[in-house]
């Protein structure tokens, strides 16, 4: 970012504007923001943003140079790392892909989680790389609320975590395990799904371990823990749930995350378990750390109207208000504050606020019952805490967010994770993302030819059924004809003139 300007130039408003002009992706994001913010804020949006960022940069620089004692954000440079430093390390990347069939609308049909394991420095290809996949045909599942749009998400999250756990179990010397996406999602929004059945879990576990006994053990471990410790806290009928051997999705996901964390910690040197997020819209770091400290400082100095004066408003007096009004996100602010090769201080992420009470229907039942998901907040049987930070890989990309388990993440651990993510991402400077995830993504990708062929097959069978008079219900016939030729027109089913 500062290759073309002296470091003090970077701290000025003009320097920030030059940076923005050199980074079209940032410029476009700001332009979008400028169009969506209130009219009164549009006028000098770019200029005011530059002023704001220059002030933040200066405060950060002052801290780094010892001129300021109350840091607004700790920024560190990724230690110099070369590939020679990470030789003979086993790294596994995990990513899931969804295959959607185009009928009248997109219908997800199957999901495939891919894993890519590689040992750096290994010359023998057969020893060096290994690919795994975990396919799930969504129609095969009995549980989960298929009518909900996020049904595919809980299936994918579950399958990805199983793939990660499987990698950790199968590979004693696994050093780094990287997931595409958050290590833990904002789980509150996924509450309320119908639990999975044991048969569903068997489908998930089919690819989990070479030895079926291990898969069975994992299942039984959960059911035991659920019966004794989890279900009593979240439902009034824990025994019935246990009797039905059902797997409440969030409880199971939390269990898998805890298992991952435990297994990583049990190694002589804890394995690095990482989630890497691109294009995130989170603003938690900005709101709870960066701007909170800025406002604190303003309050200390009696300058609480700093932003109001700058933007000509009266309501920019809290971090949330500022971010709401101006449309800034963590990624946007970090892109302007971090130089390539720098990463932000980490913070314990708040992913569990949304866990509240919700209603759940058990498989095969219409009645819903109240479930207390709050019990799954971090604790002995809830979700493990997550720590995150931002890493800026290259000037032409937005920073990525790195997430790790909080209980593993001492300073060394986090630094080692950042070094590796940076090194892996430097191979794709135009994407700024670990190249292994790109590989796993391509591997897990459901090829278009497959979903196209599948949709052709469906249409063919529907067409034959219609032709042969097997579907007699007039309304059903009308709907099917419409479903077929709303996409690719078929001469046989052309509309009436």
């Amino acid at each position: 970012m500062n290759d073309h300007q002296p470091s003090n130039r970077r701290l000025t408003e003009a320097g920030v504007q030059e940076d923005l002009q050199r980074q079209p992706h940032l410029f476009v994001r700001l332009a979008e923001n400028a169009l969506t913010v209130a009219e009164s804020l549009r006028g000098n949006y770019f200029k005011n943003t530059a002023t704001f960022i220059a002030a933040l940069r200066k405060a950060i620089a002052d801290t780094q140079q010892g001129r300021r004692t109350d840091p607004i954000l700790e920024v560190r440079r990724v230690p110099e790392t070369s590939w020679a430093d990470v030789q003979d390390e086993v790294v596994t990347f995990i990513d899931g892909g969804v295959g959607q069939v185009q009928l009248a609308s997109q219908v997800p049909i199957l999901l495939r989680v891919g894993s890519y394991r590689v040992r750096t420095g290994e010359r023998r290809l057969s020893e060096r790389e290994q690919f795994g996949y975990y396919p799930v045909i969504l129609g095969d599942l009995e549980g989960g609320s298929k009518e909900r749009k996020d049904f595919i998400d809980i299936v994918r999250i579950t399958a990805e975590l199983l793939a990660g756990l499987s990698a950790l179990e199968r590979t004693p010397d696994l050093r780094v395990l990287i997931f595409h996406g958050p290590l833990t999602y904002l789980v509150g929004s996924y509450a309320g799904h119908t639990p999975f059945t044991e048969r569903d879990i068997d489908l998930f576990l089919r690819q989990y371990a070479q030895d079926a006994q291990i898969a069975r053990a994992l299942k039984e471990d959960f059911l035991r823990q659920a019966h004794v410790d989890i279900y009593p806290k979240i439902t009034k009928r824990p025994d019935e749930w246990a009797r039905q051997r059902i797997f409440e999705p969030l409880s199971f996901i939390a269990f898998l995350l805890r298992r991952l964390c435990e297994r990583a910690r049990q190694r002589p040197v804890p394995a690095y378990i990482v989630g890497v997020v691109e294009r995130g819209n989170l603003r938690e770091l900005s709101e709870t750390i960066l701007l909170e400290r800025v406002f604190r400082g303003l309050r200390q100095k009696g300058n609480i109207d700093y932003f109001n004066n700058m933007y000509g408003r009266t309501d920019l007096s809290t971090p949330k208000a500022l971010l709401d009004r101006l449309g800034y996100t963590d990624a946007l602010l970090m892109a302007m504050l971090l130089e390539p090769g720098q990463y932000s201080e980490s913070w314990s992420m708040n992913k569990f606020d949304g866990l509240r009470r919700g209603e759940v229907a058990l498989p095969g039942l219409a009645d819903e019952e109240l479930v207390n998901f709050e019990a799954l907040k971090p604790g002995p049987f809830g979700f493990p805490r997550i720590r995150g930070c931002y890493l800026h890989v290259s000037e032409i990309t937005e920073p990525v967010r790195i997430e790790v388990f909080d209980e593993l993440a001492d300073a060394d651990y986090l630094e080692n994770v950042v070094r590796r993510v940076y090194l892996y991402s430097r191979l794709l400077p135009g994407y700024g993302f670990p190249v292994g995830l790109d590989i796993a993504d391509k591997y897990a990708h459901i090829p278009t030819w497959l979903t196209n062929a599948y949709s052709k097959l469906i249409r063919y069978h529907l067409g034959i059924s219609l032709q042969q008079g097997e579907i007699s219900d007039a309304e059903m016939r009308r709907v099917l004809v419409q479903a077929i030729y709303m996409t690719h027109r078929d001469w046989l089913f052309r509309p009436e003139p």
Partner: protein
Amino acid sequence: MATSRSNRALPNSQSPAAPAAPPSYVGTIVGESASREFRMAVAQEAIREQDLVAVDAELRPTDGQGPPESIRVWAKVQRIERLNPLFPSEAGHELAATRTNPFETVLSLSREMVTAVCQVLGAEPRGNNPRGKLDQLRYPPQPASSVYRPGSEDMARVVLGELAQRANRALDIATLSNRPEVSVSVDGHAIVTRHLAILAMTGAGKSWTARRIIEQLAAKNYPIVIFDPHGDYSRLSEVPALRQKVKRYYAQFPVFEQDSETVVKVVESLGWELAKTHRSHFDTLFEAARAFIKAPAPQIQERTEWLSDYLRNSKIKEYGLKPDLYFFGDFVQAVSAANAAEDFDSLSVLIEWCKQDDLRINKQNAKWLETFPNNLRTAAKRLRLMEKTNQKISGSLDPLPNDRTEIVQYGQVSVVSLAGYTGDFQATIYNLIANDIFQARVQEKLKLPVLLVLEEAHNFVPGRANTPAEERSIAITKQIAQEGRKFGIGLVMISQRPSRLDETTLSQCNSYIIMRLVNPADQNFVRKVIESLGEDEARLLPDLDVGEALLSGQLINFPVLVRIKPPESQGEREEEDAFKALEDAYRSLQQGARQPQEVRGW
């Protein structure tokens, strides 16, 4: 065979005789398969470009009646694509910039997709096609079919095709490039009747190829006339089997045994274009000069002395008169001088000796003729120089016969050496010979068919003529290319600069042997003119090895990549190591210098 009817394919699994993947399995058909082309996923490094492969299929009659027909579809591997879809090119740039070994990184190097694009050559009934002829395929091979490499015998049978039944026409010239054990014979009939072009850059092996073909044709006693501008065929007669068959001619030019039109062409190509006055008097002067020099010996003596005295040129007396352009120049000078000086006595002598009343011309025209002898002497000087060089390079004792069609003989390979002559004169000599042969065949005076081999054809048939000599040589070559087949004259054009060749003439060739071509203009030209050359084959041209060639057109069943077998003869220009030659020459010099000392020592 039913392949040309519209039959329906049976899935492999439905065929009771459907074999498992054969041991020579090379891949599986993927994607959309068509009657002309299919793609196959390739087993690791199982094939090479231009390999011949086959797929077995079952075709049911379209009416559903009768048993399915077992066929074998033959195809040629046109292009192999190798892709690692998990290796982003951006990462490659980063590796290059940081000089990083990919094995040290987390990049994936193991997953490669190798796909081959295969051109369907045709199909034959399985197990019952001794003819080797392939029929058009009218129904695509089934996706997921196994593709295999047929055995050498099958391959040889199919490459030979119908030639197997016409062994007398087959010329054994090559082997399959990727399968050296498979011989490739070409149709000699197609070559001698429908013309052949051999196109290759210098050093790629075109003369070697031509010699191989000539040796094969000579073994069949086919009359061949080779126009050899550089002595490439000087050692053809060293082949024991050809010793009695090869006759080399040097292109000496017996001026007064030619018609006057021919001599005009020679003078104009070696001197300069004749002025109108010179041209209008040329025939008379030439016929008079011929009569002057064709006298019996005692009279020649008298005429030599007269001419020497009249022109006050003692050298005429000293060297005597010879029937060449020098003499013609002297003669014209005498006629011109006598008329200009109105020296009617001398003129009467000349008229009497030459039996030509037309030698009397007006004074003005006589003045204009004064510069004509200079033109003739310039031409004479150049002609003599070239003749000497030509004779030396050709190593031949035989001049061209006056009846040039005599060089066409049963079982004879006539090599007309053109080395030493300028391009124009080469074109003139070629034009004279080719024209005579063509006219003799048209008028049925020449009974034997003949094959003309034109080395450095771009000099004789350029796309655009720059001189009258080139115009004439283009015209006769075009005529032979277009009409030669009717009159039993075949043409082999050999060129290292195809893009300079006349497009019409080249496109009249029905057979092509194309070897390494690097020049983009040549590649584009060849691609444009030769319809039977596919895009993928054209792309191969710059990468062909020395001696490798693409055979295309009527000489072969289907286009194949071959390696030409070595000819038995060697070319004059087959290069020896330059540095070795230098050392040899130096040693020889030193020995020469030491020799007297050693003698003195004795």
